[in-house]
Symmetry: C2
Subunit: 548 residues, 2 copies
């Protein structure tokens, strides 16, 4: 905590200041836009961008993460509070803060219990499918704001403004950096400057509203934005806690997943180390802070953090500078912000979420593992058809289902001896010798509840094809753990083999596994012996037979 | 399907007839009792014991499984339909049939999609905790029926009858078989005869009600039981389908888990082979049949199947005989059944579910793996505090959580060469030689989304302690699969090592893994080489350095 402050060097300052400035300029349109996605008054988006990043800077472990409003979390917030309160109402604000408080508390609790491993509950294809599905939902939701009316109708002045803004944003995203470079701007500066296009388009929209009578023609704006800093807003309506509990849990989980995946891809570029349990604490505290200052659930955003990173952020000081600038903006007159036309804001949202449509993983998975393409598609479809919350559940179920499915087909090899050596190899891949009274199987997986049935079934299957076997030797080189369920299955196998007069022998059991097994009855009742190596086992069992 | 009928031999018949008779005698009190647990008219329990076992006999793969009403499934049914319809009402019956139809359809679908691996979603400790928690809930729920009033009150005549029945049942369970043996009955017959105690106690209760005026004193009975066979009852009230969908899914899952665990423990005793996908089909069809004949969700019951097995059942013919006998019982005058006193029925339920309190696994887990004791306790508590449906979710979450948690700490060993040999071993366990410019790590786990972060972290950690390493060799002997997420993580590691000027080499990659990797970009961009063996890798990297 504040490790970075202790070792702060002056040469880091320039980068931090420039990043802080750039992200602040980005945050004003983004914060207001994502508050709109969440169905909240625009100013809530700015509130959620002030205290949360400051708190995250104190507890989090990423140097360049930018914590604040994020599109998908805003969508989830809207899904939860939409049915409970009208969009933009005071009640919606209170509920959003309560939701942030619950999510924050869940994250803090998980952090204290050191449950950072929860980040591993989603596979990458599932995460990507979830993100793409959510991005499409958000983009589609914004269409009617962009066009000023529900499809198939449109409000011509709004639509003209929205579509123009959309085109400007898409073109600037594609070509502005190149154009600025050709005009002689240094490459790095040009890339950053291009990121400020949304702010410029928004300013253009405000100027247009101020100088023309578009408002009278029915183009909607964000409306009054109250000045001043957010008040301490301890949510009061206790009647609404219960329906928020389960969604709060889900949102906390996604906050963590989104933030970790953003932070990881940046940490990798600088060989920084992320501590997942610190991230839980940092994000949890940031969400509690958001709740206490009238905000809504926040997380680390990959797009914004990447800009922060590219603009030179060296330490969380950059985020502190962003927060300070936003606080100043709120204390200055905010009348101009109230003229921000909603179609323009919708255009910035659509362009931002279309940036989440990263489909590279689909190509990789198509070549490498078609099952992952299926998981991607099912998660994406789950979000589109069943909604974003059900999408999370579908995603977890698919990740876990894939895991259990893969576990249910463990690799087991029949081994034979390479003639004249002490080496034993898979008989399917090597010319190895087997003996009819001896079946040697190597189990290439840890034994646990998810694969014990499959292992037992495979063993029975091999015993059926090697009907003359009197001894079964299990080679345990690749088994690093045996859980209680698998221990039971092994005991049952042992008893079954005993009844059939077949010896069960274990060879090359790893030290830690053996230490564990000594506390169980399996070893005491084993209908055979423990051997240090497969070769010793086979020699011994052969000699025993010859003597008999 | 009907494989057993084709190979039927006459000498199997005696066992099947005796088992069919015994289970029919057991089914009358059990079926009515479990209908009571589900909040349904008692006759529904008999209906659910006729067509379902016949249909299961056609499609299922277990020879001795007795499919019909089961305590925990009845409890789950009650939890779902209780809030929607008054106990014992006609609507409750319709909803229960709809629930059976949904569960049956889900099971059939899973069977057609060959999703038998779903049985592996619960670890044994979690399954045991779930069963124990449910048994306690059922026993506690029956207390007020046993005592004739809500605690702390009691209705003296009912309580006297209930407690007497309870004592008789507990004593006969404990001592009756021994007593009969001492009276000269053969051991096997005595064990079976003792299982008929519930039927005798129930008959005693009926006689008591018929001959005394206990009914006038307020002892409640099951009331009129309509005679005749069940009608085809296609559920009609479409308004209630939606709230039944998700519970139907959960119940289907538990039906499958309960039945598989019962069938497995019996199949093991006779070396029979269960096919999980056939079980899904068999159970699914049985539940659809139950729905169509006015029944409720059914599954294989361990206690009843064990009696079936012990009474000599050789093939599903035993179940067909049971079904035929029950159908006859319904066609005979059923007036006597209407006198069955509820306190006695409650006593049979309590004794039956207390038989589910199998705590042996706790002792094993306590000695072997304390984490599993925790999982047991959390699931049991989840059922007791949050209810049986939430208990399933808690159980799955805990099983999966344990899995991901274990996966997040993969075993990785630093290898060194045993001097003068080609063998490489864990330096912590063997006196093996390492070289400062070379770091050799053996990864003892399949690489997938659940452990890739942990693997990457561990590699970074080892690189930090071996700061002079210029080459990293990953020994892949134990890696049988690399999923898409892990492929990404490996590519990121490769790029990161490239930037730092460290070579990444892979040794002893298994054939199937290598085949897969050839479809990926990782091999093309690998910042190092593939080696057949660790020894070749080390020799080559050493020579390369000497030449340089």
């Amino acid at each position: 905590m504040l490790h970075w402050l202790k070792h702060y060097r002056r040469e880091l300052l320039a980068g931090d200041i420039s990043a802080g400035l750039v992200v602040a300029m980005m945050m004003i349109p983004q914060g207001t836009a994502y508050a709109l996605v969440a169905g909240l008054p625009p100013v809530v988006g700015i509130y959620a961008s002030i205290l949360p990043p400051i708190i995250y800077a104190l507890f989090g472990s990423s140097m360049t993460q930018s914590v604040g409003p994020m599109a998908i979390i805003s969508l989830m917030t809207a899904t939860v509070i939409g049915p409970l309160a009208p969009a933009g109402s005071a009640l919606a604000g209170v509920l959003a803060a309560q939701l942030a408080l619950i999510s924050g508390a869940v994250l803090l609790l998980c952090g204290v219990l050191r449950m950072g491993f929860l980040a591993n509950f989603f596979s990458r294809p599932v995460m990507s499918g979830f993100t793409v599905g959510s991005a499409l939902v958000i983009a589609f939701d914004q269409l009617h704001t962009l066009l000023g009316a529900e499809l198939p109708h449109l409000h011509a002045p709004s639509a003209a403004m929205g579509v123009t803004a959309l085109l400007l944003l898409v073109l600037s995203k594609q070509y502005l950096a190149g154009l600025l470079k050709r005009c002689g701007m240094p490459a790095g500066v040009a890339d950053i400057a291009a990121k400020l296009a949304p702010m410029l388009v928004v300013l253009g929209g405000i100027v247009l509203m101020a100088t023309t009578d578009l408002a009278a023609m029915g183009v909607r704006t964000t409306g009054t934005i109250p000045g001043g800093l957010p008040h301490l807003n301890l949510a009061s309506s206790s009647a609404h806690w219960k329906p928020l509990l389960q969604p709060g849990l889900l949102i906390g989980f996604i906050i963590f997943l989104m933030s970790m995946s953003a932070a990881q891809s940046l940490a990798l570029k600088r060989n920084e180390k992320l501590v997942s349990n610190h991230e839980l604490i940092g994000l949890g505290a940031a969400n509690v802070a958001s709740a206490l200052t009238g905000g809504f659930p926040v997380t680390g955003s990959l797009s914004r953090s990447a800009v922060n990173f590219a603009a030179g952020a060296n330490t969380p000081l950059a985020s502190l500078i962003t927060a300070a600038l936003l606080a100043c903006a709120l204390m200055a007159p905010t009348g101009w912000l109230s003229l921000l036309p909603l179609p323009v804001l919708a255009a910035t949202i659509i362009v931002a979420v279309l940036g989440l449509l990263e489909l590279g993983i689909l190509r990789t998975a198509w070549q490498y593992d078609r099952g992952d393409v299926l998981a991607w598609g099912a998660t994406c479809l789950g979000v589109l058809v069943l909604g974003v919350e059900a999408g999370v559940v579908v995603g977890v179920a698919l990740s876990m289902g894939t895991l259990i499915w893969r576990a249910s087909r463990p690799h087991i090899a029949v081994l034979g001896r390479i003639a004249g050596t002490e080496h034993f190899r898979n008989v399917e891949r090597y010319p190895a010798e087997t003996r009819p009274e001896l079946l040697v199987l190597r189990i290439d997986a840890n034994l646990f509840f998810g694969n014990m049935e499959a292992v037992a079934e495979r063993i029975e299957c091999e015993l059926a094809t090697h009907a003359s076997a009197r001894h079964l030797v299990l080679v345990m080189t690749a088994v690093s753990s045996i859980d209680t369920s698998a221990l039971y299955a092994m005991s049952e196998l042992n008893q079954s083999l005993k009844r059939r007069g077949i010896g069960l022998h274990l060879a090359e059991v790893k030290g830690p596994v053996l230490d564990r097994l000594r506390n169980s009855e399996l070893l005491r009742e084993l209908n055979g012996r423990l051997f240090l190596s497969t070769a010793i086992a086979c020699d011994h069992l052969q000699t025993a037979k010859d003597v008999a």
